[in-house]
């Protein structure tokens, strides 16, 4: 098994931390997602890689098959680990965790990625852009490289980050971790929100439970190890096009 990952931010953070939490044995290979490095992998044109809803994220390759989408890769590691340390054991709590992650990917992640690439633009030349298998992902890359960002989308994205932090703050009332026990929901939430502290500071003002929780996440040895994979001084400022903003408006 080989894990191709970018800077430990967004989906690469989730996958690296989940890998180290479960102790699964894998080769770990850094690629530059912010320069479109994923599109040069041998498995880049496999549908489950080219058409990942997550946009630019890590790829786990097993027997030549490329696997994407960080939450489901984390579930895969958890299944392999057999100890089920990353998901609650109770089915209702698992439903809550999957629903939490789903809403995060639908609402929060597109907003975070949009704000992230508008502040820290990724770079891609024409040859890389031509290799991108998904027409709509290529269009998001072209906008990102050109620095084309719509003001109404930026404003809406800031609102969505503030709403996500409000939801976190409420959820963490009386809880150490989002689902009670530590889970993939904590990793995925941290993955998309850590870089927003700098970009939408107002969303985090007077949110002590969220601030304490972020510190607790960072103190986990597996998370520290994931963050130590960084090649850049500020990995939370490294972004590439993420999931698209809901087309229905």
């Amino acid at each position: 098994m080989t894990v191709y990952h970018g800077e430990p931010n967004g989906p690469s953070f989730t996958v690296l931390a989940a890998l180290f939490e479960t102790g699964i044995d894998a080769a770990v290979v850094h690629i530059d997602l912010a320069k479109g490095g994923r599109h040069s992998l041998a498995c880049a044109q496999q549908p489950e890689v080219a058409m990942s809803v997550e946009g630019e994220g890590p790829v786990v390759v097993v027997d030549g098959e490329g696997m994407t989408d960080s939450v489901f890769i984390a579930c895969y590691f958890d299944d392999l680990g057999k100890s089920n340390s990353l998901r609650p054991s109770d089915p209702f709590a698992r439903w809550e965790m999957m629903t939490w992650c789903r809403q995060l990917i639908e609402r929060t992640a597109p907003a975070a990625a949009y704000l992230g690439i508008s502040a820290h633009a990724p770079s891609g030349d024409a040859a890389m852009l031509a290799r991108i298998g998904s027409v709509d992902l290529r269009a998001r890359w072209q906008d990102a490289v050109a620095g084309a960002h719509a003001e109404d989308r930026l404003a809406d994205s800031r609102t969505k980050i503030a709403q996500a932090v409000d939801k976190m703050e409420a959820r963490l009332n009386g809880r150490e971790w989002l689902m009670g026990e530590f889970s993939i929901a904590d990793l995925e939430s941290y993955a998309w929100l850590a870089g927003m502290v700098e970009l939408v500071p107002s969303a985090f003002a007077q949110r002590p439970r969220t601030a304490d929780w972020m510190q607790r996440v960072r103190l986990r040895p597996a998370v520290a190890k994931a963050l130590a994979q960084a090649r850049q001084p500020a990995p939370a400022a490294c972004w590439a096009p993420g999931p698209e903003i809901n087309r229905w408006g």
Binding site: E65, D69, F72, R94, W95, T99, D136, N246, G249
Partner: protein
Amino acid sequence: MYHWEPNANSGKPMLALLEKGVSFDSHYLDLLNFDQHKPEYLAVNPQGTIPAMRHGNRVLTESTAIMEYVDEVFSGPPLMPENPRDRWRVRWWMKFMDQWLAPSFSMIGWNVFVGPAVRSKDPDELKAAIERIPLPERRTAWRKAIYGLFGEEEMNESRRRVAVGIRMLEAALGEREWLASDRYSLADVNGFNLGYALPLSQPTLSNDELTPNILRWLRAIYARPTTKACWAMGRTAMVKRVAILEQSYIGQEHAT
């Protein structure tokens, strides 16, 4: 189970329950009558989305997550494969359909079916109905459907995605008997809800000549008694389109 027609999101947990052999109380909500935004239902699911499932004193929403819960909590034939990589593939395809492909199908469906179906209602009543919708995204969607506000560009993009998605489904079903692994799973339950009427709704893109694997797959799912029982709970002409799968061959000429 609080649901509309066995179609798209409502049909997913309904069919999963039937596959597990679990009987359930059916609360039919008429989407076209805005039952899902009425106070009685908002007391069950404040977001006003369909479906929702009450199990004991708990209410669950989000159709794909409900299906995983149903599979885990009830005995009966497993609807997730054993192999971890197959399980990953089931989840990948469900998310791809839920978040990328289905919204394009539904934009077309809302434009040609849902919008026209409710447009004849009293304008003030419609306006009030839109204002009662809790989620801003759903309010936008209904406004677009009711007043026919879908732009040509976004409709073309939806058509492009439907064509790409059909090609991807055909290729995947050429590699495997079922969508995500070699056994029937939640990915097939999900996919059937999305595609059961494909040879009728997209006749130039999906038929026995162009997409034989998709047609084989749809007919195999339709042949299951559980699927028949599920679709028999439908009331509209929309879901009765499933009968197209009783035809043993649907050629390209069907398109004209």
